[in-house]
C-alpha cells in the first residue's frame, strides 16, 4: 500500500502527522478535509478497504443533508463531486398516521419558500457521499489515508500521542480524533464512559420506485409503532426509513420482498401511485448513546463517537458535521495563534460549543419519539392539535424549517459557507 508519510516539525520534536483521525465513515474524511484546508497534516485511518464504502449495499442509507451541512460540503470542496446525485427537498410534510389506515389528515407542512436560504436540505445516498469524500481526500496533498486498518491502542506522552494500528504499524500525532462511531474504541480506551439507552426500535431502510413524481417533498408519518419517513431521491424514487418496534422489524426482515411490500403499502398509502422495492432492505437498531466527555488532553470525539442519536429527522449526520465544523474551527484558529491546539483547555472550547446543542437535540428527539410512538387516543388528539397549532403560526413554522435546515444555533463558519 502506498502511504507516503508526512512529517511535521515543531522545534526538535517530530510527529508523523498533526492530527490522526480514527474512522473513515462520513465525519472522519470531512474533518480531515476541513483540517487539511487549514494547513494541517492529517492521517485518516479507515477500517474499510479502499473504495468499499461506495459499493451498493455497503450502507444502504440515505441522508437528509441539512442546508448547513450542504454548505460545509461546499466549503471543503466535496459538494461539486456529489451534487449531481443530490435531490433537493423543497417541502416537508408531517402527518400523524395509524397503522393499517395510511397517513392521517395532513397537519403540518413546511415549504422552503418560507425561508430565504433555499431548499431545506438535500437527499443523498451514503455511497455517493462516500465516493465524493474519497475522491477529495485522495486529491488533498496534506491527507494520508490508511485503509483496511483499525486503531487498537493509544498512548499519550507529553505533547505526543502514539497510535497503534491492527496492521502492526504505529503512528505519532499531536491530536487523536475518534470518529469511530457509537462503539468508539478511541473513547473507551481513553476511559470515557457513555450514557444511553435502547429505544427498543429498529429502523428498516430501503428505497422504493413510485408511479407519480414526489415533487421534492419529504414526508414524515408518525405511526404508533414509530415514525415512517419518505424522502425524495433523484427520479421517481424515494428512500424509506421505517422505525418500528424491534419485534415488528425482526418479523419484517424475515419476509420475502413481495410480502414486505404488502406490509409497507398500507402504511405508505397510495399518494405516489403504485410502489415497488428498489435495491436492498437493511435494518438498524435504534439507541441513544452519549459520551460523558467529548474531549480529553490530546483527544477529541466527533459524530456518533460523541453522540449517537435516534435517526429521526436525519439529524445524526447533520449533528456530526456540526462537530466537524466546530472542531476544525477551534483547532485551526488555535494553531494560527500558536496555541497548543491539542491541549485540553483549547479542546474544551469545542466541547462547550457542541455539548449543549447536542444534549438539547438528543433530548428533543427523544421527546418527539416518545410522544409520537404510541396509540393513546388522548395523546393522538394532543399531537394533532400541537401540529395544527405549529402549522397555524408562521413564525413558529419558520423556526421549525430553519431548525430542520440546520440554520439555528451558533453555526461554525464552514456551515455559514465561509472559510475558517
Amino acid at each position: 500500500m502506498d502511504n507516503p508519510r508526512t512529517v511535521t516539525i515543531v522545534g526538535f520534536m517530530t510527529c508523523d502527522s498533526d492530527i490522526l483521525i480514527a474512522g473513515g465513515g462520513l465525519n472522519g474524511p470531512s474533518l480531515a478535509l476541513a483540517l487539511a484546508d487549514g494547513g494541517l497534516n492529517v492521517t485518516l485511518v479507515d477500517a474499510a478497504p479502499d473504495g468499499a464504502r461506495e459499493t451498493q449495499g455497503f450502507d444502504g442509507r440515505c441522508y437528509a443533508l441539512a442546508l448547513a451541512s450542504q454548505r460545509l460540503f461546499q466549503a471543503i470542496g466535496v459538494w461539486p463531486l456529489l451534487d449531481g446525485n443530490a435531490q433537493p427537498i423543497l417541502n416537508v410534510k408531517v402527518t400523524d398516521g395509524r397503522a393499517g389506515e395510511g397517513p392521517g389528515p395532513f397537519v403540518m407542512g413546511f415549504d422552503h419558500a418560507e425561508i430565504e436560504e433555499g431548499p431545506t436540505g438535500y437527499m443523498v445516498e451514503d455511497r455517493f457521499i462516500s465516493g465524493a469524500l474519497r475522491e477529495a481526500v485522495e486529491r488533498h496533498p496534506l491527507i494520508t489515508k490508511i485503509s483496511d486498518a483499525k486503531a487498537i491502542s493509544q498512548q499519550v506522552d507529553g505533547a505526543i500521542v502514539t497510535v497503534g494500528l491492527d496492521d502492526g504499524t504505529s503512528h505519532t500525532t499531536r491530536l487523536l480524533v475518534g470518529a469511530d462511531g457509537r462503539g468508539s474504541g478511541v473513547a473507551s480506551r481513553a476511559g470515557i464512559k457513555r450514557n444511553g439507552h435502547s429505544y427498543h426500535q429498529t429502523a428498516v431502510v430501503c428505497s422504493v420506485a413510485h408511479e407519480k413524481p414526489h415533487n421534492a417533498t419529504a414526508h414524515q408519518f408518525f405511526m404508533p409503532d414509530g415514525p415512517l419517513a419518505i424522502l425524495p431521491l433523484p427520479g421517481d424514487h424515494s428512500s424509506i426509513v421505517w422505525s418500528t418496534s424491534d419485534d415488528t422489524a425482526a418479523r419484517l426482515a424475515g419476509l420475502s420482498d413481495d410480502d414486505f411490500m404488502e406490509e409497507l403499502r398500507p402504511v405508505f398509502g397510495d399518494f405516489l401511485g403504485d410502489i415497488s422495492l428498489s435495491g436492498v432492505r437493511l435494518t438498524y437498531p435504534l439507541s441513544l448513546s452519549l459520551a460523558e466527555h467529548f474531549v480529553k488532553d490530546r483527544l477529541a470525539l466527533v459524530g456518533d463517537a460523541a453522540h449517537g442519536v435516534h435517526p429521526v429527522a436525519g439529524q445524526g449526520l447533520n449533528l456530526g458535521l456540526r462537530d466537524v465544523g466546530a472542531l476544525a474551527e477551534v483547532v485551526i484558529e488555535a494553531r494560527r495563534r500558536g496555541e497548543d491546539f491539542a491541549a485540553v483547555d483549547v479542546l474544551a472550547r469545542y466541547e462547550q460549543w457542541r455539548r449543549w446543542d447536542t444534549t438539547v437535540m438528543s433530548a428533543g428527539m427523544d421527546g418527539v419519539v416518545r410522544l409520537f410512538s404510541n396509540d393513546n387516543p388522548i395523546l393522538r388528539a394532543a399531537r394533532g392539535m400541537g401540529l395544527g397549532i405549529v402549522n397555524a403560526l408562521p413564525t413558529l413554522r419558520r423556526n421549525f424549517i430553519r431548525e430542520a435546515a440546520g440554520l439555528t444555533g451558533d453555526l461554525p463558519k464552514l456551515m455559514q459557507g465561509r472559510q475558517i
Binding site: 494547513g39 495563534r337 483547555d345
Partner: protein, 252 residues
C-alpha cells in the same frame, strides 16, 4: 552567557519579583492562579499574531509564519506567550526578573518539544548586552515595573529599526479599580490579593506619551474586553476602559 538581573537597576522592584516567584509553579494550570491570563490568552494572541503578521508581511496560514523573526518576551512568566511565538517559528528569548519562573518555563517548553531561550534577566540587561529584536512583547508588565519611562527607553534600544513593540496594561480609572482589583482579586479570587497596585496603572494617553518619549511611534491601540455573559474576552476598537494594548514601531 547567562545574564542576571542587576538588582540596583531602575526597573527592578524586589517585592514584585518575590510575589511572582511564589506563584511560579502555577503558571501552566488553566484553572489555577493565572486563570484570567489563560482566559485572556487567545484574545492577546489574536492581537499579537495579527500585528506581527501585518508589520512583517507574514501569512498566518503558513506552517511557520514567524520563521526568521527574533522575538523578546519580557516578563515571560511560565511562557504563555513565548511558546506560541516559538510554535509559529520565531526565535524566542523569554526574559523574567523572577528566577523561579525560568525552570518552570524551561520544563514546560521541553515537554512541548519547543526550543526557547529563557533567561533570568531584565529588559535593560539585554539592552546593555546589545541584543536586538524584530518584536518586543511587553504584555501585562509595565504596571509592575518601578520606572515605566526607563523601562520603555530600554525597549527602544532592544528594537531593530522597523521593529515592533507590543505593550498591554491596565487603565487607571474607577472602573478598572472595580474590575481588576475588587473584582478579580477580592470577589472572583482569580488573582491573589495584592497582585496589582492600582496606583501603578497607566492610562492609554499616559502610555502613548511614555512611548513617544522613548522615540517609538505608536501606531495602534485596542481594548481587551471581558464579557461576563459569554465568559470570554474580545478585542474592542473603542472600549479601552480596563485592559488595553498598544502597537508601536521603531522608525529609526
Amino acid at each position: 552567557m547567562q545574564a542576571t538581573p542587576s538588582e540596583n537597576s531602575t526597573t527592578f522592584d524586589a517585592d514584585e519579583v518575590a510575589k511572582f516567584e511564589a506563584m511560579a509553579a502555577e503558571w501552566w494550570d488553566p484553572n489555577g492562579k493565572f486563570k484570567p491570563l489563560h482566559m485572556l490568552n487567545p484574545c492577546r494572541l489574536d492581537y499579537i499574531t495579527r500585528q506581527i503578521a501585518a508589520e512583517f508581511d507574514r501569512d498566518l496560514n503558513d506552517t511557520l509564519p514567524f520563521k526568521g523573526l527574533r522575538i523578546l518576551d519580557i516578563g515571560c512568566g511560565g511562557g504563555l506567550l513565548s511558546e506560541p511565538m516559538a510554535r509559529l517559528g520565531a526565535d524566542v528569548i523569554g526574559a523574567d526578573a523572577a528566577a523561579g519562573n525560568i525552570p518552570v518555563a524551561q520544563a514546560h517548553a521541553r515537554q512541548m518539544g519547543l526550543e526557547i531561550d529563557y533567561r533570568n534577566c531584565l529588559a535593560e540587561d539585554l539592552a546593555e548586552a546589545g541584543e536586538v529584536f524584530d518584536v518586543v512583547l511587553n504584555m501585562e508588565v509595565i504596571e509592575h515595573v518601578a520606572d515605566p519611562q526607563a523601562f520603555l527607553n530600554a525597549c527602544k534600544t532592544l528594537l531593530k529599526p522597523g521593529g515592533l513593540l507590543l505593550c498591554s496594561t491596565i487603565n487607571r480609572n474607577p472602573k478598572s479599580f472595580a474590575v481588576a482589583i475588587v473584582g478579580a482579586e477580592h470577589i472572583m479570587r482569580w488573582l491573589p490579593k495584592g497582585t496589582h497596585d492600582w496606583k501603578k496603572f497607566i492610562t492609554p494617553d499616559e502610555l502613548v506619551e511614555l512611548i513617544k518619549n522613548a522615540e517609538i511611534e505608536p501606531v495602534d491601540r485596542k481594548g481587551f474586553v471581558f464579557n461576563p455573559l459569554l465568559w470570554s474576552w474580545s478585542i474592542s476598537d473603542r472600549d479601552l476602559s480596563v485592559n488595553y494594548v498598544t502597537a508601536s514601531v521603531n522608525r529609526a
